[in-house]
Point group: C2
Chain length 381, copies 2
């Protein structure tokens, strides 16, 4: 017997109400029945994105929405700034280059946040820059970039702020309209508590203006066409019907909990994991700019991080993420976004303590759990 626990930074656990809704017989997408669900769901998405703009719903993973954010708004030869502080920052650059954009890369040490001054410097030097692309939460390093400060820089320039909010929207406060984010994208398998398969993108009025002159080739990710269809409560191409029905359920849960309470829960869970890490003497990967989506810790000296991830997953049934590229084997990423609460954290910390013990590291059992419990108690009256 092996019970499974999913504590990776996506896919994340799916609540029962969404699972049951998605298990219902598939309905046809060109029906009043589906349109009604679609309309209600699209409206709830605006609440979570904190925007008055339409939020496009695409049958794709988050990368699809990232690609569309570039192809729909720019033309080959356009110059952009990419904040590259991890695997996903790197992805902005790769997509931009695939479509012939000229990338000004700001390389940020993994685990650190970008310094807005570095962005401002390039913007000041090169007034032709069309966009700044950044991750609100860089999943590969568990660090958060200062989106509000970056938005203040782009707001009054002829330049868009394009934000990958894949592990940020619904995790921490990212008020699109209030801050002046021009493009905000996300995906279903993160704080939206669904299986992978849906991507979301919302564009500011300023971004829609860019769309009018953008010449990059595109077909499936055609935002103008999707916006037109959205007004008719449908999508340009066949929507992922069951996932959208599940999305409706998940969004109702978020609405019921209340967005600010959802943020507070993520903050509490993140603090509990950081407290546990401290109690276990595990060094944080992003101590200065931690994302509330996941916490990265360095594995102790002498422990193979790859073995730790494998032991947790294969022997204990607990799936967490390891490191990528130069952090491979060196870190453990404990996710706490989406359908996650107190006892998921307890399981995560207890399993790490036990796995480290099994791998020969002298870990004091219960010490990390106790530190987490202390913070998690705040969640109860």
């Amino acid at each position: 017997m092996k019970k499974r626990y999913l504590l990776a930074p996506g896919p994340t656990p799916v609540p029962e109400s969404a699972l049951l809704a998605m298990a219902a017989p598939v309905i046809h997408h060109r029906t009043p029945q589906f349109s009604e669900i679609f309309k209600e769901t699209a409206e709830l998405l605006k609440y979570v994105f904190q925007t008055k703009q339409d939020v496009l719903i695409l049958a794709a993973s988050g990368t699809g929405a990232m690609e569309g954010s570039i192809t729909n708004l720019f033309s080959p030869g356009d110059e952009v700034i990419v904040v590259n502080g991890g695997k996903f920052g790197e992805r902005w650059a790769k997509i931009s280059e695939a479509y012939g954009l000229k990338v000004n890369m700001i390389t940020v040490e993994w685990g650190k946040a970008v310094d807005p001054a570095a962005v401002k410097k390039i913007l000041d030097e090169k007034p032709g820059i069309k966009a700044v692309m950044v991750q609100a939460s860089e999943t590969s390093t568990c660090a958060a970039h200062p989106v509000k400060e970056l938005a203040a820089l782009t707001k009054d320039r002829d330049c868009l702020l394009i934000v990958d909010g894949i592990t940020a929207v619904g995790v921490f406060d990212l008020p699109m309209d209030a801050w002046g984010i021009d493009v905000l994208v996300s995906g279903s398998q993160k704080a939206f508590m669904l299986p992978p398969g849906l991507a979301f993108a919302a564009l500011s009025e300023k971004a829609w203006k860019f769309q009018e002159t953008a010449k990059c080739p595109r077909f499936y990710f055609d935002f103008k066409k999707e916006r037109k269809n959205l007004k008719d409560n449908t999508t340009a191409y066949t929507p992922a019907v069951s996932l959208i029905i599940g999305l409706g359920e998940a969004l109702k849960m978020i609405k019921e909990e209340g967005l600010q309470n959802v943020f507070a829960r993520h903050d509490r869970l993140a603090r509990s994991v950081k407290a546990a890490a401290k109690a276990m003497n595990l060094k944080l990967l992003a101590p200065d700019a931690p994302s509330n989506a996941a916490t990265g810790v360095y594995v102790p000296e002498g422990v193979d991080g790859g073995k730790l991830v494998k032991y947790l997953r294969d022997e204990m049934g607990v799936t967490m993420a390891g490191g990528q590229d130069h952090l491979k084997g060196k870190i453990l990423r404990i996710a706490h976004l989406g359908y996650v609460d107190t006892f998921d954290i307890i399981v995560a910390i207890a399993s790490i303590e036990m796995a480290l013990t099994k791998l020969g590291h002298k870990a004091e059992l219960g010490k990390g759990v106790a530190a987490a419990q202390q913070i998690l108690l705040e969640g109860y009256k």
Copy 2:
């Protein structure tokens, strides 16, 4: 958001494979398709009951099998011994009396096991005694009675040993044929990892002899008729089709894990909870004769057990059981039978520590968890 954890002594958690099997469209019970499943499932039941005898499958809760064990084997006026050490011992007496049997009650202090000498004394004094009725595991007190010793007493007498194994079969070793248990009953919502709705009963050859002359009135619970139908891979009345299909899946899981490994897991979980209780200074309810199905602990002085159970369930989403009758408000029963493993115990202990803290009791966080972790580590290579 509130996640739910089921740690009561029944119903117990149901594994995904069984849930999915039960969610499939209902098939008709008078079909070769169902007969095939029924046959295979009935065969697997014998493995778990450790018997060569047929195991009858009834659409009922465990109490139905208890009633049938009396009405099919005895006649009004027959004299029996009932070991009454809790709510379920009491039930044997109530059913016996409802059908006009004469009950010799051995009252056992709640939390204690019966002394076989007390049973022997009555058997010696009254050679006409037709049965000894007992619980292998008395769910209301978390105590286990000495079934093997009782079987040794009845084996060579014209007297049956009737065992309520509702929270015992599939939890700890109870080899029906090897020990000479004459009737062994159980229910689906315990170690069989299913929702409530099925009861099981297996009878020794000696018990079937008793059946031939038994005159108690009966209709729905007609064991002879059920045995005849079982040979034809069906049941006398409409079987609970989906539950039986789920049972097949659950039994396959037990077979795959191996019965001795299942017992070892329950033993490990029980020891971990006892170690945690000790670390938390919680007095055991049944220190001398603990059942591996559930562990009962007295709540600390000054804590209202009813409030504790309610706080755990309503505020923390963790369902455990309180006490009944004179133990109401005084104890907490932490179940660890069925589809339960390491991290269910971690959640149970962590939640108790946190709930006690919230209720004003000075509990050292993480201390019980650490004690449990130490034992639970034995389950990993």
